[in-house]
Symmetry: C2
Subunit: 148 residues, 2 copies
């Protein structure tokens, strides 16, 4: 599985929270909108708070909001928060003769990983929620209209 | 983990078997060269036999050989045999309103998966073992010389 379950869930949560334009959402609300089980979601949200992608507002009407503008949150930031990309930097077989050089097999695998990393580095949450499209992420979001 | 442990092990095994130019290798020999635990390796080899990437020769001096030329085995074939790439074809949230259209979030994820798929579709085992390089895949392979 190239896109892990955890990453898929984290992306759903951030996209949903970002769609509120500053309205805080509770874990229950996010869970219902994103169809992510609450306990699993709570762990994912915790990782996102730790990496300062979202923040929680306490008190009545509290909940989670984005910690910065959607345009400043890269998909790669979310990947790094919940399921970091592991580049191949040394021989996984720990062959001394390979030293710091990768053989063609591991160079090719690392190139593929680098490709994914660069894709995720060049797109932001704003790209996912702001551009008009016929199909909005997740379900009916607040403050968003379907462009048909 | 973008490259699963199983895929990494399968690639090591096929690259090693392919390096023998038709010499059969036993599970023990492959395990020692690729540093893959024997029980895990046996399962991986079984999947590769099933997908006709390798074949086993019985009897004295028997073992595993490639079922076709290295140039005819794509990395994608091995991926498909042991850890198939799952493209996102319908909304993972099963939203009826999305129907067969992917939202921007899932389209972007699927694009990233497609990128990996196409990389693996355009390179073969021959690319990994035949071209001269300073660092050969895995350790000291039979019939291969280090080009320095």
């Amino acid at each position: 599985m190239i896109i892990s379950q955890t990453l898929e869930y984290a992306l759903r949560a951030v996209v949903f929270i970002g769609s509120g334009n500053g309205t805080p959402f509770t874990t229950l609300q996010i869970s219902q909108a994103t169809k992510v089980p609450q306990a699993y979601l709570a762990k994912v949200l915790q990782s996102l708070v730790k990496e300062k992608i979202i923040q929680s507002q306490r008190g009545l009407g509290g909940g989670f909001i984005l910690a910065k503008e959607p345009a400043k949150i890269k998909i790669l930031d979310i990947v790094t928060a919940v399921d970091p990309i592991e580049r191949i930097v040394t021989c996984p077989l720990k062959l001394k003769s390979h030293g710091s050089n990768l053989c063609r097999l591991h160079q090719q695998l690392d190139d593929a990983i680098a490709l994914i990393e660069s894709t995720f580095n060049t797109s932001t949450i704003a790209d996912l929620i702001n551009k008009p499209t016929t199909v909005k992420p997740l379900c009916d979001f607040p403050n968003q209209k379907i462009v048909s």
